[in-house]
Point group: C2
């Protein structure tokens, strides 16, 4: 308690001079990001010259090489690749579905295989459909009704959740666990309503997990577009006996080697303390992963570029990490944290951007009460930049494994209203990212890191 009071007192004592210093520095950071930033051009290359980069793919390796080469041009103190083994799942060359309303009458619907799913038999699967709105419903309905059928999980994301990530959390169990659960009741496949708040024709992929289910008992899992889900549901009301046809030839392969890409600027006063900023370099394969998480990658790179460009000397060692395999394994994040522990590295702070390249509204912090108390004193300095939402809670998946009760974990929180229009879908492309919004995020991240590096958090 005495320590906290001392800290707050110290902070308020140095307040005025430091505040002016921060204001000047933030202005130069925002000016540089908005007027001569590199983030948008980087994203153009990553999205349009490389494209979707699922772990284990050739594109993912091209992205690793590109990231390393770009960081090497920034004049950092060190750039290296950290080896990590990653899963390799390949979508295959077709995925196809239709609703057979009566024998011979079919309506095509947009579907995509869920990441990790097995293929259907080569001829596809044709079966009746059981529509449910929760995993629990399977138990209520029971094996007799489910056996031999395709289970259709159709609980929409809750449009009434103002925070769209909460709506996502509230629905995504259908995608991650649906196939595993349905297989226990004898289902032959699952179709999941896309994790998308609006009605459109894009199926949204994402991981499904079979967990302990033996290989022989796994069933194929696909996502259906929200319009397709609405259609299927209304058709089922007209004809509960309709049949659904699904055909996909995705495949799991053995793990392959890949890398996290890391670059750092040595700290001038406390080089042994590390600040990490990062996003994930891998993406799903349908679009080009511009929002998820190309945006976070180029914003994180921009943080270090701005430090160099503006000659800001971090007290602590500032490290950018382009994590591999967030989407279907988190191997990169796990490996980074394991290595950090093995080397007894001390991490002071980690900041992740993995919520899209939209206008930044704030940051979330996964930290101790004392740390948050201290941070609250700093928040007003960011107000002129319309950074006003400081919450406690999740930071980012890749930096999560660093959590040890001492390190400050933080996540950029951009406006989230459009995020799930694009998330894991073919329309997550470069044109969906606004240059200015992306650059504001990079500037906000740079400012926060500069601010927290300059002080000593409890």
């Amino acid at each position: 308690m005495r320590k906290t009071i001392f800290f707050l007192l110290a902070l308020s004592l140095i307040g005025n001079a430091q505040t002016t210093h921060f204001e000047t520095t933030f202005a130069s950071i925002y000016d540089a990001s908005l007027s001569e930033g590199a983030s948008y051009q980087w994203l153009d290359h990553l999205s349009n010259q490389i494209g979707g980069r699922l772990s284990g793919s050739l594109n993912a390796e091209r992205a690793v090489q590109w990231g390393k080469e770009e960081l090497e041009q920034l004049g950092l103190d060190r750039v290296w690749l950290q080896p990590v083994m990653v899963p390799k799942w390949v979508r295959g060359n077709f995925e196809y579905a239709n609703i057979e309303t009566s024998p011979g009458n079919t309506i095509n619907v947009p579907v995509c295989a869920l990441g990790g799913s097995i293929a259907t038999p080569a001829a596809g699967i044709r079966a009746g459909v059981v529509e449910v709105h929760s995993l629990d419903a399977l138990k209520t309905i029971g094996r007799e009704a489910i056996q031999g059928k395709i289970v259709f999980f159709n609980r929409p994301m809750d449009a009434q959740s103002i925070r769209t990530f909460e709506a996502y959390s509230g629905a995504v169990d259908q995608r991650t666990k649906g196939a595993a659960e349905a297989s226990k009741y004898g289902a032959v496949a699952t179709i999941v309503r896309s994790m998308n708040l609006r009605l459109d024709d894009f199926p949204h992929t994402g991981s499904t997990k079979y967990d302990g289910i033996p290989l022989s008992q796994r069933i194929p899992a696909a996502a259906i577009s929200t319009n397709g889900a609405e259609l299927l549901s209304s058709m089922l009301k007209l004809n509960p006996e309709l049949r659904f046809f699904l055909k996909q030839n995705c495949k799991n392969y053995p793990d392959v080697p890949s890398h996290n890409v890391i670059g750092e600027i040595k700290g001038s006063e406390k080089p042994e303390e590390i600040i990490v900023v990062g996003g994930h370099l891998d993406s799903w394969d349908l679009g080009d992963g511009s929002h998820d998480d190309g945006a976070g990658i180029v914003q994180s790179m921009e943080v270090l570029r701005l430090f160099k460009k503006l000659n800001l000397k971090p007290k602590r060692t500032l490290r950018v990490v382009l994590f591999m395999n967030e989407e279907n394994g988190l191997r990169g994040g796990t490996k980074y944290a394991t290595e950090a522990k093995r080397k007894k590295e001390k991490h002071y702070m980690a900041l992740e951007s993995d919520a899209g390249g939209f206008t930044p509204r704030g940051f979330s912090f996964d930290c101790t009460d004392k740390q948050f108390q201290a941070l609250q004193q700093l928040f007003p300095i960011l107000k002129p930049y319309q950074i006003r939402e400081f919450t406690r809670g999740g930071s980012g998946a890749d930096i999560g494994p660093l959590k040890d009760g001492k390190v400050l974990l933080a996540g950029l929180r951009p406006d989230s209203q459009r995020y799930f229009d694009y998330h894991h879908a073919a329309n997550d492309t470069f044109d969906a990212v606004n240059k200015r919004e992306l650059e504001l995020g990079a500037a906000a991240m740079t400012s926060l890191i500069y601010l927290i590096d300059q002080i000593d958090l409890p």
Copy 2:
């Protein structure tokens, strides 16, 4: 002073029970707007079935009829048209420009006539170009250098302004006053860099004003796209003697009759006090005016629809006004205020939405200190809806004439980062508006009005 303290005390005394009531009501307002809102479908019709609706055009009259018919279906207590004379300016059937880098070698550049501009002679104008960055520069350069030339105003909006409306205010004098000023120095036409923060190929129109300049001395004014402006500027550096060709056949006509569209729900306790919510029904003619200000129109209509739908009884009379002619005359707003004064109507509050259909971030208030003090107590109730920016300042052009030192004027403040990508340009179309963001704005407006109606502002 005693009165204020009493008010604050009263507010804090009734605080808890009322807070709970507001929380419940807001939840139902947001639920209804996001799950079964009418705003997006209305905007679809206004944008795609009617389209651009410049004052005095047939489309503007179709919009008036549509607005009246839609309001009549809401079961309001009264719907009427308020006559107002409006300017009529017609773009004509061509506008065309090129840079002649050397005799016979031309590069076409995208231009559009500024609203209110006169035509060029039928054969067009071909002349040398003087590039300037401010109105003041004309004086420095002087008549000799300007005489017979086209003045090219090329000061960009300041990308470093976080608030884009400030960047707009900082540059728009070139558009509104450029032609009038340049004509005083003998210029033959003006070309103005589009009011757009990004580099693209859309010319952005908007009003230019000749003010006291006699008809015979007026010169044509056009906007050039930001890419076109960059090109022209770089060409001028290579060849200061290049010539520019401009041809446009826009025309001003005598005023024509039009209308504000008004609908109201009678107040249950203080029907003589009026709350206005509105936007402007007219738009520029290049796009379909979805953001400017179709969004504000349908959001304002949605406020009254939600009051009816949820059976919320306003204490005061709640009036929606679809103002005519904000863009090039403000005749509708002026007429409404004049009529209100003539009828001795008492306006308690007016709220305008005219900053695009983007995610709402807050409200601005044009009010007394006492009113703002009182309002500050209420702001936390809107926090769960990510409405967190409450500023003092401008409200909206249409409601501005109501200002009398007593009425509370307010403006919805959505995220402004993308607004000037579309403002007054051909890409301000329905597809640029996100359904959910639009609906969140309508819900925020409804909640604010409900809140302020339930209390008694000083």
